[in-house]
Subunit: 340 residues, 4 copies
């Protein structure tokens, strides 16, 4: 397999930094461009001080030419540049929300902007549901961080239409809010705190719901409540539901998960149904699942843990690239979590 | 009102320290004894380094004589000493779980021990439901930390029988685990982490359920999932449910909460239904409620925030003492939260 | 003593919030105005969510009339309004750096701005050195947060001219950076991190040095290195030096500190020379001192701990107000630290 | 180069976990044994939940046979097993303090135990001073975490005998205290706190001093003050001193560091003398150096940052293994820091 060139558009944020960190030693990849309109000319290590050994400077956004292009631009901005990149023959993996929705009305309602390219369709880049489609895709919509954790915790339930309504209670690290300081990410405010936000109004809700409805082929409902917790990386998803069939046991459900993910490289259903936590997947592309339990009132819990910047963003984007390019799916993603 | 003497039994832990911190400047209270079998003879400030100005030593547990006695002993231990204290004519406020259950079978099932005094009944010391009973009580079972946050977030719903099942997803600070170091409370493990635990098996579930069933006078079900978060103090409760009457709006529910708690000193339903967070009630006896929302799928969220060591333990115990003794209910509890 | 009216100018920041939190239950004080040009008209609790029970709105900065006025404005801004306030007969306690320097050249060099009122002199409001002068002052320059911890850890050494050079290595909580979010205070950057900054260039260095030279009446040198640590409140000062007289022992120095601070309400030299830490003084006006040690190479360490927002700012400002007004020096400042 | 077998003795702690995390994908290494007397028979992932893909169980300590053996046992225990391992022909890299001292009296004084093998000499495994000796060593004493950061921040100063006394003020993450929970590592105590400890009495002081005296060939003095900070990984070292030659400038010293470390793979003197911080080296084997400054009072600061579990322990041990075995020195150590 010969080398490919990749470019990262909008590389000054956390997902940009993670793409570089992970791709730096990819045996088949050459990073030939990292753009940042704002920081063009600066060394990459000026913004990503962990990347002292990366000898590259940010460039402006013109003349991007690469086999695979990662767009780490914000939604609304990303959609503007992607059609041209595709026309030039590049494969594009978009980390924004712009092409995640099949239903454009849903996108426009929840994102509050008009979609300029409603006819341009992407493959939703969650390998655990779309691996075959990803292989031949030119445009990947890389899933949102919350949806990655939520959907992976739900697939076996939805596949067999076992539930009507999923209540997703998610706890996210602060890096999910991005690189720009705000009141919400100010250390004295978010340290030693738990802050629910966007209660009932977060745009990852319709993303989860559309994907699960498509996957399960029925109108499963999703409710979603995110919480900001004093953690840098990670999303812990607590998935609450009631089974339609009350004869199913905790063991039955656990077996369902084991079977579903038996061949997945990055989704680990924990031995003995152990409970996942964020400290075990930090910095890695793994999703841990466990803590499955049906209580005496018939209520089911399933828990998943991911690193929002890796499996929830840049790691998954590289996983998609590996699939597209025919590389080993875990190439440059073999890092084990940093524990403690 | 003349002064009273109080004693704290089992005063070396965090709830003991909080009782002293809060009672130190109570105008009607003299702390005349703080016991600790293990640390008898040591200065109180050796274990509670914030209490440099408290000139008291721990004593052994014998000869406790006070008008009001706080027991901060563990469950199973607390029940052994309380009958004698009551017989001596003291009022007792028990911070353990030993006397919280009306149904002794439930206690014995969930705590895994035999109850030695099944006929000794206490008043469940949540002033917001039992204020009148507390006034005349000799024995108060001070509520658990999770139940305090969970019940206060549920009362208006249960009072009007609006819901059949409450899904309580709680996030607790690590001080709730007490003063003894364990693997779970080891800094490298619980920092930068979210760790669900006791999924479906936590003994605060039946406490919440028994109280809500008694208060609402119907068989409401409760499911409870606790999470350990990297916070020192605080419990953030996310209360998920579905209304039986789908004509009710978010505003209707918000009004219900406003009305229910209008006269409460310590329960604040936030203006404009703002979302509570832990950093606003740190160190105080307040419970903040807000973030009330019904989403497009008919799912209701209500959020509450308390300091687990204050409203969730020692502050509430002092509130109970104030009610019993006829002091102002907020005497020595006027502290505003430490923010940031 | 009859009640006084106080105003807080620039009350939307952390020191403003702390002034309100602490003054709210002061028996002799009525807060009659809190100004914020930016937030005029908003409720105080909109910016300080811990102050739900404070029924006040921010006003604009005009027509300030109070017996005592706290200025919590930034340096450079504060100096502009103070002369008029004094002329109206108010006592002013300025929390900025504008009037802390006797030597105006030093101020102008380190703050990089021209001083408009070089002839207006304030009393440096550290009660432990200037209590008598404070009683009669009209204008108090409230000390900086680092200088408070550094000077209190140095006084006994400088009083007896025991050292020529003090190396102050300070670790500060992030609330010291104020209420405005920046890259430096962004949670993902400052969590799980230690970040030295302003190495050799921080303007609290000349403040410490001027005060110690004035107090000791000799040219003691000060070097100062601040570090940002993932803590919300607190400054831990590690004071390194070499004694000129190498016959002095650790015990001698410890005795010197005990004697110096024997009558101080808020400076506690810890029993048995225990080592201070930030968790014991959180939210309180105390300064803990201890950990005094001379090693086998003749190097002396002294450690102090304060809450930067209380003894390092608003608590000390209230202490100064109490002294000026003849109230008990610890009125409304009796809070014990929040531990844990 | 053909594969080697390695064993890890005492693999249940954090340094054991790090050795496995880093060695897992080393192209020339096969981990054939991981011992733990206490946990023999358990899966490695039961104790290191990040290592789900490591299919190994802990064994008892008998019959260890490997080309290279890492001992991650505590000091005092490690020394007992090492002579036999050496006799069997294995190379041994000891992560304890047992063989770090050339002067046995110093060891016995500071560690408080008798050394059983005073004649068995190891090479102090800091490649930046002993690379040539390491190549041929059979026994490596892997440096302590504090000494690694302190020595690397001092070498250029000591090499040219520029200073007489180094004042090392270090801030360490809590993982340095190991895997066993104690009061000191209890989350509610060490979160939101800075805690100096072992002031003037920490046994890494003589380790630093002996190494610097040997390297510089003169009697340089070292004073050392460690602080526990609420960080999981990392040691930030602030190195204070006074230059004997006061004509030297900050630029001169910066150039000295640049030159000294120009060819080192893992020691990075930051561009433009930027200030290091812990978040840039997390999880990596890098040591960042910078923030070099001489203030107006002639006081010099140099700052270094390492990950205590990697360059301060397991990463450096693998670096030593690579040198001994003739592998690329950075094999399996190319990880960039996890930022944020």
């Amino acid at each position: 397999m010969k080398d490919i060139n990749v470019a990262i558009v909008g590389g000054s944020g956390y997902t940009g930094g993670e793409l570089i960190r992970l791709l730096k030693f990819h045996p088949h990849v050459n990073i030939n461009q990292i753009t940042s309109r704002k920081h063009a000319g600066k060394k990459v290590s000026d913004l990503h001080p962990n990347l002292q050994d990366v000898d590259l400077k940010f460039t402006d956004v013109d003349d991007i030419d690469a086999d695979v292009i990662f767009s780490a631009l914000p939604h609304g901005v990303s959609m503007n540049i992607i059609p041209d990149l595709l026309e030039n023959g590049s494969k594009v993996i978009d980390l924004s929300g712009d092409f995640r929705f099949n239903d454009i009305d849903t996108y426009e309602k929840w994102y509050g902007i008009e979609h300029k390219y409603p006819d341009l369709k992407a493959v939703f880049g969650l390998p655990e549901i779309n691996r075959e489609l990803i292989k031949d895709a030119n445009l990947i919509a890389n899933p949102g961080c919350f949806p990655t954790g939520a959907i992976l915790s739900s697939l076996p339930l939805v596949q067999d239409k076992l539930v009507d309504h999923l209540i997703i209670d998610s706890k996210t690290g602060v890096s999910g809010a991005g690189v720009t300081p705000t009141n919400v990410t100010h250390y004295p405010i978010c340290a030693d705190n738990v802050a629910p936000y966007a209660v009932g109004t977060h745009r990852h809700m319709p993303e989860i719901q559309e994907q699960l409805r498509s996957f399960g082929n029925y109108d499963v409902n999703v409710s979603f409540t995110p919480h900001l917790v004093p953690v840098t990386r990670g999303i812990l998803t607590t998935n609450h539901s009631f089974l339609k069939d009350d004869s199913l046991t905790t063991d039955d459900i656990y077996e369902l998960y084991l079977k579903k993910y038996a061949d997945e490289l990055f989704v680990k259903v924990l031995d003995d149904n152990n409970i996942p936590s964020l400290n075990s997947i930090r910095g890695s592309n793994y999703c841990h699942i466990g803590g499955i339990n049906i209580d005496e009132n018939g209520h089911l819990v399933v828990i998943s843990a991911i690193d929002n910047l890796v499996k929830g963003a840049s790691g998954q984007a590289i996983q998609n690239m590996n699939i597209i390019c025919g590389f080993d799916e875990n190439e440059s993603l073999k890092h084990l979590g940093l524990y403690p």
